[in-house]
Symmetry: C2
DNA sequence: GCCGGTATGCAAAACGTTTTGCATACGAGC
DNA sequence: GCTCGTATGCAAAACGTTTTGCATACCGGC
């Protein structure tokens, strides 16, 4: 009744477990007849190697974690989809094609019991400065690849999201008619915010206008952003364009504009970073950037498997970010 | 340099591995002083039990798979988010709180190497008739819980999505002003389609109008739906309302209506099933149903862990589906 | 008749835990 | 002094693989 093991199969085939193992792994020669007999018998008995035993002996093999340090249960509702999940979808596909499974790990809260987490590596999405998620894996000596560089850890293998370029793309586009451009980022210290803020500072200096930037706590999501952006716009009424990399915040900004009677894009041009459903289906549709997340996910998985197997990671570059112009930043007709 | 094992720790503490094991598991009494010493030393040495070894000895423990048989790489773009991913997010959170990890498994294509998949159970989202995903797990004697009953397998544990009620809700709403209502489902044989089609037949008989239904292959996604629905509407011009449970198809239906110069909701009232981002951010927003997917995911995880541990599954019921009225089916003003 | 090579397969030692049955020591009760 | 419970801990056997070194048999060449 119990599941057949390699010993049962070996007995049935009249050979040793060693031979059975070799027959399947191909690591040593096995007489073709013998092998055929074993395979046929395995089929018949429904034998299937126990993956746990296999990985105990052979060390690791077969699964990586995908983790975000962004709130994901906290910011309930639609915002928990999007960026992370799009990466998850691509990464799962890629991982599977590398014969690896992908474990989805929600943000680690303090006291989370994660002993069960048994992975050979981890992909951490947009780690923040001093991110405890990174420590968690370091303690366990689990190799990590970050998506988006890890602030304060220039040595950590990462897939570069090219945030500086992305920022430049957005800002140049938003300010192309001479508008004063504002910037809304998150208060968490993620590399994309940091790079964007730096590019923004340079941009302002170049154009000769005073920076108008604000940071919002990610945990508040769209609602908090709507309130905060409204206050921000009241305070800086000469802002003609707003760069809002977090799509949930951009949705909040749309609401803020509406509340103030500002028309988008005529009174306020708006653009966000991640070209996901939120950007595509907002009204008006949001100008955004194609970050090639499918490539990013694939590259991250490849780097990680490389790291796990001790190969030096090939830093396959991601295609340059691509501006996707939409109605929210259409050239003003006024 | 290598990671310390229980033997190293035992040596360092001057006890046997047995005692160390008991100190952590609490399955036998260990002198408090000894235990404290062991724990302190473990901390210092960075000892952490190897989960693989643990599960080999103790049998299973710690991970479940989430699988959809819906195309997910095939239907690229935005449609690969949504339903499955919302469930994934909730399920991952619930799973973690049960000290279990969630593996995301993309649709199994023929020949997929899934030997690495080492899970104690699986949640299959909306299985179709004769779904090969189910066979895959049966072969491996992995317990399965379905989300949405499995057609042809009334015995399979499942979380009921209450599709009949959902259908009734949508149809009654759409037909409330006497319109003739059409139905668009998927050509795959999933329980929700089957139930909806049955309710629809009864509904038509009741109201005394000829059914107008169509099935579309899911793999075509929104684009194929746009084309198909346009043809469908041309052919049955007296349709005043359309029930389109698949949100990607509903988005296609919107495009079809626009192409035909039909205004939604004035000329055509529209409603879909899953109240996700797609419904909320479409223009006009789509009337949809709150299926309580967070509850569904949590219940599925609970049933599955129950099944794995041999407990009889407690069939905690899901809250009744709730109609969320939006602009796409607003009461016609004409 | 001996040597070297190839073909085929096995025994036994890992891998790092958990679990079970047994052992020792010690104090209390008689 | 003997028995008995309780406190504490250990040895050894699992769990199901993979891996490594060794064994046997056979064949051809000298």
């Amino acid at each position: 009744m119990t599941r057949p093991t390699i010993v049962h199969l070996a007995q049935a085939a009249g050979v040793s477990p060693t031979t059975v193992s070799h027959a399947f792994s191909g690591r040593r020669y096995v007489d073709p007849d013998t092998k055929a007999r074993i395979v046929a018998l395995a089929q018949e008995m429904g034998y299937r190697a126990n993956p746990t035993a296999r990985r105990l002996r052979s060390g690791g093999g077969g699964s990586v974690a995908l983790v975000s340090s962004m709130p994901f249960a906290v910011a309930a509702g639609p915002s928990r989809l999007g960026f992370l999940m799009e990466i998850a979808a691509s990464a799962a596909v890629t991982a599977l094609s590398r014969n690896t499974t992908l474990c989805l790990v929600p943000p680690l809260e303090r006291g989370s019991q994660l002993d069960a987490l048994d992975v050979d590596g981890a992909i951490v999405v947009e780690p923040a400065l001093d991110d405890s998620v990174l420590d968690f894996f370091f303690e366990r000596a689990v190799p990590v690849v970050a998506i988006g560089r890890a602030p304060g850890r220039p040595d950590l293998p990462a897939v570069d999201l090219r945030s500086a370029e992305t920022a430049r793309l957005l800002l140049d586009h938003l300010g192309q008619q001479g508008q004063r451009v504002g910037l809304i980022t998150g208060s968490q210290r993620r590399n994309s915010y940091i790079e964007m803020e730096a590019v923004y500072a340079a941009f302002c200096a170049e154009k000769g206008f005073t920076p108008a930037a604000m940071r919002i706590d990610e945990r508040g999501g769209e609602d908090e952003a709507a309130v905060a952006v409204e206050a921000f716009l009241r305070q800086t009424p000469d802002i003609g364009a707003l760069c809002v990399p977090v799509d949930a915040f951009a949705a909040g900004a749309l609401r803020a504009a509406a509340a103030l009677g500002l028309s988008v894009p005529d009174d306020l041009r708006l653009a966000t970073r991640y070209d996901g459903m939120r950007a595509r289906l907002a009204s008006p549709q949001l100008t955004a950037v194609n970050l090639h997340l499918d490539q990013v996910a694939e590259t991250a998985i490849d780097m990680l498997t490389g790291l796990i197997e001790g190969r030096s990671s090939s830093p396959k570059p991601i295609a340059a970010p691509l501006l996707v112009e939409r109605a929210s930043s259409a050239r003003s007709s006024r």
